[in-house]
């Protein structure tokens, strides 16, 4: 089975641990790179093939509140680049505010996951199922 490539953009290491545990629990096979903020993520994406990742990630899990460059700014920057435009971005955040959901929708994200992470919570279930589908799809390739 081919692991799914994930770029996690998250500044809180405890959250990184939590996400890993949740993905494990969901039996998702993945390869993960992490960035601590938007800027780092952009550097990693640009540096692909160098010291960074070999190929573009299948999905990005992006926190909203981060230092230097927040999640929304990062997605905006990604959408501006022709070669990154198609990347599947997921928001992963503590905020369940309507404003944030609307802003994410406007940027065309693939899913919205709320912390604390629960695989079967009504707010995050769709996003997790989509990730599992993506993984299954990639395995069949």
């Amino acid at each position: 089975m081919k692991p799914i490539n994930i770029l996690l953009v998250e500044d809180d290491q405890l959250d990184v641990m939590e996400i890993r545990r949740t993905l494990d629990k969901a039996n998702i096979i993945y390869q993960m790179m992490t960035a601590r903020n938007g800027e780092e993520a952009l550097t990693l994406l640009a540096d692909r093939g160098g010291s960074g990742i070999e190929e573009l990630p299948d999905i990005l899990l992006i926190d909203i509140n981060m230092p230097k460059m927040d999640g929304f700014e990062l997605i905006e920057a990604i959408r501006k680049q022709e070669e990154w435009k198609h990347l599947k971005c997921f928001i992963i955040t503590t905020s369940n505010e309507r404003v944030d959901r609307k802003a994410a929708e406007k940027l065309g994200v693939s899913g919205y996951i709320t912390k604390p992470l629960k695989l079967n919570s009504p707010t995050s279930m769709d996003a997790f199922n989509l990730i599992i589908d993506l993984m299954n799809f990639k395995s069949k390739e």
Partner: protein, 489 residues
């Protein structure tokens, strides 16, 4: 010019007009009095003149009688009339004011004197002497014939008659002229008084209209301004370039409005900042809290065997406090979120809304909830839901009775509904009635009732944002009645 000066001047002007009217009428009344006096005097004059004329006749008859008969009684009546005429003359000359009449009277007197001198006295003497001798009688008879043959005496008498007639006619003419003058004066006075009164009424009503227009338009403007301020529109001012009392009132109102506007916007800004602050702080608190919770659950999941039962017990305590802290943060967030988001209005049947509220409250099946006939309102459903949810939740939770009862009903007022949530619970002492609406204030200890003290603060904030009131009637042990108002639209 000041309004008070306007009023004073108008009053003074009208007073002046009325004074003139009064003076003119006073003059007229004086004229009437003078005329009255004249009339009575004139009557006297005519009467006395008549008496004088009659006396002359008496004298003529007396003289002739005496001359013919020699009877003394004739000469006596002559003397009486003559004496009386002397006094009448004195009185008449004192009564007469008209110079031509005086002249006429003088002429009458002269004629009378002439008659007395030429006829009466000589004939009287001759008659007295005629009794002495026959010769004397003859000479008297001759003298008598001689005197009356000429007819001169007759012409004096008829001249006297003419003069008397003229005297009377002239007197009547004067009287007529006086009456005419008086009538003209009365007419003139009436016309003038009427004109002055009309003028005063016109002047008064013109000035009153001017003042009312000047005042009422501006008062209306001020009333509108006050209404604007009352509904929260502070950016209003009155343009008034006058320099009277109302203008200074207008300036004060403008000043008040601008101060209000400034203070309100300061207040709004600090409220917004406070909400922003609460939002950011509570949001940032959520992360670490969740982190701690995560670590504890990982310990429980992966290392259950390695920790002692005591540690497990402590971990459970920590988890409990994390839940409490998260509830507080969540409460603070929802408190700060009120009136942040634009709410859409929808048709809300309140009975159905209460049903939804109860479905979301665990344990409501054990409570007897009696819901009255409630209206259907076009309003922000979510806000009304939150208000009812918090009130009903409290009514159910803080109830130590065997049989818990909650009653929900409504009273309709002109522009709003008044909703009641009544319970038979523990009740609240009056000293806490204010305090319970302050955020994070609770009356029950947190260990027995996991209460954040946010619910009623949220209720209060929602009602404040809609400019509505909440009231509480409650006594310890006697249950509570919370009532709040909600606009119909």
């Amino acid at each position: 010019m000041k309004i008070s000066r306007y009023i004073f001047l108008t009053f003074f002007f009208i007073l002046l007009l009325f004074s003139i009217t009064t003076y003119i009428n006073y003059r007229l009344s004086q004229m009437v009095v003078v005329n009255e006096e004249y009339l009575s005097r004139s009557g006297n004059i005519i009467r006395e003149a008549g008496r004088f004329q009659r006396n002359i006749l008496t004298m003529v008859n007396g003289l002739h009688g005496y001359l013919l008969t020699g009877e003394r009684s004739f000469i006596e009546s002559y003397d009486t009339a003559s004496v009386e005429n002397d006094s009448i003359l004195v009185e008449l000359s004192s009564l007469l004011t008209d110079s031509s009449q005086s002249r006429l009277l003088k002429e009458i007197k002269q004629l009378n004197d002439q008659w007395t001198d030429e006829y009466t006295e000589p004939l009287k003497q001759a008659k007295i002497l005629s009794n002495v001798s026959a010769k004397n009688l003859d000479s008297f008879n001759n003298f008598y014939k001689e005197k009356f043959a000429t007819g001169h005496e007759q012409s004096i008498q008829s001249l006297l008659k003419v003069k008397f007639k003229r005297f009377a006619t002239h007197e009547y003419e004067i009287r007529e002229a006086n009456m005419e003058r008086l009538a003209a004066a009365v007419g003139k006075t009436r016309k003038l008084s009427l004109m002055l009164i009309i003028l005063s009424i016109l002047a008064a009503s013109a000035v009153i209209r001017f003042l009312v227009k000047k005042i009422s338009r501006r008062l209306r403007q001020m009333a509108n301004m006050a209404n604007d301020i009352a509904i929260g529109n502070y950016n209003v001012s009155i343009k008034d370039i006058g320099r009277d009392e109302l203008s200074s009132l207008g300036h004060s109102l403008n000043h008040m409005a601008s101060e209000l506007s400034r203070n309100i916007s300061l207040l709004q800004r600090s409220n917004e900042e406070l909400d922003q602050y609460a939002h950011v702080v509570s949001h940032d608190l959520k992360g670490p809290l969740r982190g701690i919770g995560n670590v504890i659950s990982w310990i429980e999941e992966d290392h259950k065997e390695e920790v002692t039962p005591k540690v497990n017990e402590y971990l459970a305590l920590i988890k409990g406090r994390i839940v409490r802290a998260e509830n507080l943060v969540e409460g603070l967030l929802s408190y700060a979120r009120i009136d942040k988001e634009e709410m859409e209005k929808e048709i809300t049947p309140v009975n159905a809304l209460i049903g939804e509220v109860l479905e979301n409250l665990p344990g409501h099946e054990k409570v007897s909830v009696e819901v009255g006939e409630l209206p259907v309102i076009h309003t922000e459903k979510i806000l009304l839901f939150q208000v009812f949810s918090n009130l009903i939740n409290n009514a159910i939770r803080y109830n130590d009775k065997e049989k818990r009862e909650v009653r929900i009903y409504c009273k309709e007022h002109k522009d709003l509904y008044e909703f009641f949530v009544e319970d038979n619970g523990m009740g609240i002492s009056e000293i806490y009635h204010k305090r319970i609406f302050i955020i994070f204030q609770t009356l029950a200890d947190r260990d027995s009732y996991e209460s954040t003290g946010v619910g009623l603060a949220i209720v209060r904030k929602i009602l404040d944002s809609k400019k509505q009131d909440i009231r509480l009637v409650s006594q310890p042990g006697l249950g509570s009645i919370f009532s709040f108002t909600w606009p119909k639209n």
